[in-house]
């Protein structure tokens, strides 16, 4: 640290040049933060998926329904610990832009299957006691200023094309930071009875979630489930929850590759900008570097001084950029519901900091070697 004032002094020698370089590094890291948050929003579900959970859907497509009667048959398959189901409701609250997921579920099996949803016991009891009851995630409750006791009208363009009314009986939180708390869940019996009364596709569900007794046997269970319904009018496709989420994300493309490609181009540009700044900075003070060597700085110390300077520049830009990205992404989903898991994970912040150090080392290494190899007498003549 005793060399800090020397490193800092050199870095701030040309304030405008350093500021512009710092700004470009900062912008690159803001972009990095944003892209990581978008990637998290698109593929975060894969990471949060339960290793022991399987999704069973219609073999043709997810929008094809499955018979409710499959539940009992699935429960009898060896290796299956629990089964529950959900159905896409696709409702609209006030405006189509106010997107969030609403699904009818069986409260008790559903909450046991998804322990990442935390609901106070009294609210769970209220849900079980209220046929039109619904629970809603914290994010959506805050977004629409809903509270327990509110009546919420939701228009379904799929189911009877009518407005359904729900009583908010509970607000659930997520057990982990990335847990999606934008959804609303309501009782399947209310849903199915209403459908039945109007003769509108009763006894059909969207997809099943199965918990395997042994996560290591999940693939075997998946095969057994699909075999069970082979050659039936509604054949199934069973896959791990992670693969199911990945399949959704893959509809957009290989997100990780797209993000890596964009960031690669951005950081390559930054590499050139910062590298040019550092080379120029060293070239301009060859004489001064000669003086340092004359008074006893070793080649290694010269190398370290220049590397420390380039790393300070990129790490400073990285910290400021990531800080800004964190502040901007902490406000949550910018799309109003399409990216419920939009946030910058701590893992990516650490990765960003690591990249900033590597960037500093790469951009500084050539000028640092130049400083290291200076011949003192020659350098002093260029003072």
């Amino acid at each position: 640290m005793k060399f800090f004032h020397l490193i800092w002094g050199n870095l701030t020698r040309k304030k405008l040049r350093t500021s512009l370089t710092l700004l470009s590094v900062l912008v690159a890291f803001v972009l990095f933060g944003f892209l990581c948050a978008i990637k998290q929003a698109l593929v975060g579900g894969v990471e949060l998926a339960g290793a022991d959970r399987l999704i069973v859907r219609h073999k043709v497509s997810l929008i094809q329904l499955l018979p409710e009667s499959y539940k009992g048959r699935m429960e009898r398959i060896a290796g299956v610990a629990a089964v529950t189901h959900q159905t896409w409701f696709g409702g609209i609250y006030q405006d189509p832009k106010n997107f969030f997921m609403q699904n009818p579920v069986e409260p008790e099996p559903f909450m046991k299957m998804f322990p990442e949803f935390i609901l106070p016991p009294d609210q769970m009891q209220a849900w079980l006691a209220t046929r039109t009851g619904a629970i809603v995630g914290r994010k959506t409750a805050e977004r629409f200023h809903w509270k327990v006791g509110d009546k919420v009208p939701i228009m379904s363009p799929i189911w009877m094309r009518k407005t359904w009314e729900f009583d908010i009986v509970g607000i659930f939180d997520g057990a982990k930071k990335g847990t999606d708390t934008t959804s609303l869940f309501f009782r399947y019996d209310y849903f199915d009875e209403t459908r039945k009364a109007q003769n509108w596709g009763t006894g059909q569900v969207g997809w099943y979630t199965i918990r395997a007794k042994d996560p290591a046997q999940a693939a075997v269970v998946a095969k057994l489930v699909d075999q069970e319904f082979e050659n039936s009018p509604a054949e199934t496709k069973t896959e791990p929850e992670g693969a199911f989420a990945q399949g959704f994300a893959n509809q957009i493309g290989n997100i990780a590759l797209i993000v890596a490609g964009i960031l690669g181009a951005v950081f390559f540009t930054i590499l050139l900008v910062t590298g040019s700044t550092m080379s120029q900075a060293v070239r301009e003070r060859i004489g001064e570097l000669g003086v340092l060597k004359a008074i006893g700085f070793t080649n290694g110390q010269m190398l370290a001084l220049v590397l420390a300077e380039s790393c300070l520049l990129t790490v400073l830009g990285g910290v400021l950029g990531l800080g800004l990205a964190l502040a901007m992404t902490s406000r949550g989903d910018p799309t109003g519901g399409m990216l419920p898991m939009f946030y910058l994970p701590a893992r990516d912040v650490l990765l960003g900091l690591g990249i900033s150090v590597v960037l500093g080392l790469i951009t500084g290494i050539f000028p640092a070697q130049q400083a290291m190899r200076l011949r003192v007498a020659e350098a002093l003549r260029r003072m």
Binding site: F3, G9, E288, L292, G296
Partner: protein, 235 residues
């Protein structure tokens, strides 16, 4: 150990030194079979016209360059045989440099400039500060400690340069045209300072100059001409 060895003879001993520079295919003989001894505590002036090899000789004595042939021994150490790393450490321990153009770091204050050689020592921050204060007091610039070089006159900058040169209490102070960029009055102040360092503090000083007025302040003057020492000034 070095001091003991030095006491057995001259502090600086240059023996049969030759220095050849290469420019494309051309060989430039800057120093030829040059020998010189400087006892401890001497104030020596090296005079000669431009291109005579004064600065090259000073660089060899200061361990900034290596001779093509011959040996350079300072304070008992054969510095022409030291590795780059050892030579850098040796310079930090034994040599103080004063340059014609002061060569201060423009981004550092006077006290930070003076502190630079001390950063290579194991001294604590408080000890370094004490040494810096002493060195600045010796050159009469305590009141300018927090000022940047650009706000100082040439004479003041050179005094900061001298403070940086003496702050580690080096064995040898090497001055390359220390008054070359100063007016007469400021130059005289610098020469007075160097003389005081030699007389009152026993510093061994080798000063390169082409100014007879400056060399008159030294206890001994040697002349260089075409890479060789002569007894008489070159006309």
């Amino acid at each position: 150990m070095s001091e003991n060895k030095a006491n057995q003879g001259a502090l600086v001993r240059v023996d049969g030194v030759e220095k050849i520079f290469h420019r494309a295919a051309e060989e430039i003989h800057v120093l030829s079979e040059l020998s010189l001894q400087v006892p401890a505590g001497e104030f020596l002036a090296l005079m000669g016209p431009s291109g005579s090899g004064k600065s090259t000789l000073l660089n060899l004595i200061g361990g900034l360059d290596r001779p093509t042939k011959g040996t350079v021994t300072v304070a008992g150490d054969r510095i022409d045989a030291l590795s780059d790393r050892a030579l850098a450490a040796w310079r930090a321990r034994h040599i103080g440099f004063v340059f014609q153009l002061y060569n201060l770091m423009p981004v550092l204050t006077a006290e930070r400039n003076v502190e630079l050689p001390l950063l290579l020592t194991p001294l604590s921050k408080a000890e370094r500060r004490k040494h810096v204060e002493t060195a600045l007091a010796m050159v009469g610039l305590s009141h300018r400690a927090k000022h940047y070089p650009r706000t100082m006159s040439g004479g003041e900058q050179q005094r900061v340069g001298i403070a940086r040169g003496i702050v580690t209490d080096p064995t040898l102070l090497l001055c390359d045209e220390p008054t070359g960029d100063l007016d007469r009055k400021a130059g005289d102040e610098i020469l007075n300072l160097l003389q005081a360092l030699n007389r009152e503090h026993g510093k061994t000083i080798i000063m390169v100059t082409h100014d007879p007025h400056a060399s008159a302040r030294a206890a001994r003057t040697v002349h260089l001409n075409k890479g060789q020492l002569t007894n008489e000034p070159v006309k």
